[in-house]
């Protein structure tokens, strides 16, 4: 729970006369629709609180790694971070199911889950037991695809490829289920790694692929859509509670609103990113996603309760 280093600049006596600053970190960079959405969110909060609540955006991971900012928020610092559910799974394992392969098919479905009572349950647990408050969990960054130098038509083509993926166990298991060998390489080494053949594959959503210039070093992007990358803003629960109720409400409302708006923009931008990369020489292929999906079923049985959670989510989505 919350530590004894709980400080927030006003000793719990939050009042509307005081000013508050929240430092929001993200690995994204300017120009990414989600990053721009965060800026708009911060401007809206500033305006509605008459400049009393300032949200400063720190892009390109300049405030630190996501996991480290989560830890700082937990100990009471005035920081927040945009994270995927996998990062929160250490604390509330259920929430990690949103990072499971093919758990939802698009942003609308992800958004529906994020608004559900089931999600509310997880989010309360995170706040009560781990001092982390989700501001909104509807920031959609796109669907993740396979990046390779070899043409991929069926799952068999992935067999034996060395792939760089996210460190989270669920991502590693998914890659194994698809027949690949996940390989521990830092994100900054993916570009030279692909170029020099240290790894054979990587996987990412279009904005990240384009942002890291990975289309320069792969020949094919295969639209496997294995993960839907949905992220949320997380801050310290004590810190949030310390704000005057009115400000809290404004922050939650605006986070919700701008998350949705930015996600819509991302959805639209995915095509533009794809076209840009095609123009720069990459071949983008569609595949029969069902074949890939079938292979990843086994991943769910490797995590406690994930089968049941998938059923619950399917219920919410009416599938």
């Amino acid at each position: 729970g919350s530590g004894e280093s709980k400080t927030s600049g006003n000793n719990g006596s939050g009042s509307e006369g005081e000013s508050y600053t929240l430092k929001l970190g993200t690995a994204l960079t300017e120009g990414d629709p989600i990053y721009d959405g965060l800026v708009e969110f911060s401007e809206a909060v500033k305006e509605r609180t008459n400049g009393k609540v300032t949200i400063e955006i720190f892009g390109s991971g300049s405030l630190g790694e996501d996991n480290d900012i989560v830890e700082q928020a937990k100990t009471g610092a005035n920081v927040a971070v945009l994270v995927d559910s996998g990062r929160l799974a250490d604390m509330v394992p259920e929430i990690g199911v949103l990072s499971a392969p093919y758990i939802v098919d698009n942003f609308d479905e992800a958004n529906k889950v994020a608004q559900s009572d089931l999600f509310k349950e997880w989010s309360d647990k995170l706040a009560n037991e781990h001092n982390l408050q989700i501001l909104s969990f509807n920031w959609y960054q796109g669907e993740r695809h396979m990046l390779t130098n070899k043409e991929i038509k069926t799952p068999e083509d992935l067999e034996g490829l060395k792939i760089r993926t996210i460190g989270a166990p669920i991502a590693q298991k998914t890659m194994k289920a698809l027949g690949m060998s996940p390989s521990g390489i830092a994100w900054t080494e993916v570009y030279p790694g692909l170029q020099q053949g240290v790894i054979d594959a990587a996987e990412a959503q279009h904005p990240a692929t384009y942002g890291a210039n990975l289309h320069e070093v792969v020949d094919y992007i295969t639209k496997t859509r294995h993960f839907q990358l949905i992220t949320g803003i997380v801050a310290g629960a004590d810190w949030m509670e310390n704000l005057p109720q009115e400000y809290q409400d404004i922050i939650y409302e605006e986070a919700q609103k701008h998350g949705e708006q930015a996600s819509r923009k991302t959805e639209k931008s995915l095509e533009e990113y794809e076209q840009k990369m095609i123009d720069e020489g990459v071949t983008v292929n569609e595949v029969d996603v069902e074949e890939f999906k079938a292979l990843t079923d086994s991943v769910y049985s490797e995590f406690d309760g994930y089968q049941e959670l998938r059923n619950e989510i399917n219920n919410i989505l009416g599938k």
């Binding site: 530590g3 004894e4 280093s5 996991n67 830890e71 937990k74 100990t75 250490d90 604390m91 781990h130 034996g160 060395k162 996210i166 460190g167 989270a168 166990p169 590693q172 060998s181 996940p182 390989s183 521990g184 390489i185 830092a186 240290v198 790894i199």
Partner: protein
């Protein structure tokens, strides 16, 4: 066992452990590259190397402190008379001691508080990494106390 004998065996152990860690980091990174090249990569190799690396640094830092190898700028103080220098050194060591104790206290609290944080591909707590700083700093603070003790003895003896 006398205090001195204990200190001597601790130093021996620390030397052995840090040498071993140095070679292990090389070994893991080397093997990881070889295995990946041979077609069966080890996903956790980077993390294990970084885990050992951080311990290598903070246990090694104590060794470096003991052997007076940390880098400083003695351009100004070397002109001072040795008595004043010794007093100054004691003050500097006291400040370092305070810093080390601060970091070890708050560092260990952080490791405990966030024990749930996992290393992503090894299924162990991140505390195995984050505890290296407070533990390393704590060991260094003991070494610093020893250094202060030495300096005080020098002050007391008229020979120096």
């Amino acid at each position: 066992m006398t205090l001195n004998a204990f200190v001597q065996s601790y130093i021996k152990a620390e030397n052995f452990i840090t040498n071993f860690l140095m070679l292990s980091v090389v070994f893991f990174v080397f093997i990881a590259a070889v295995m990946r090249w041979a077609g069966s990569p080890i996903a956790w190799s980077v993390e294990i190397a970084q885990l050992l690396f951080v311990w290598l640094i903070f246990l090694g830092a104590n060794r470096s402190l003991r052997e007076n190898r940390h880098i400083g700028v003695d351009f100004f103080v070397k002109k001072l008379p040795s008595k004043i220098r010794n007093v100054l050194d004691i003050l500097i060591y006291l400040l370092i001691l305070a810093f080390l104790l601060f970091v070890s206290r708050f560092g260990i609290l952080l490791s405990i508080e966030n024990y749930v944080r996992q290393l992503s591909s090894l299924s162990i707590s991140y505390a195995y990494i984050s505890a290296s700083v407070p533990i390393g700093c704590f060991i260094m603070s003991i070494t610093t106390i020893g250094k202060i003790w030495e300096k005080i003895s020098t002050l007391g003896s008229p020979k120096h």
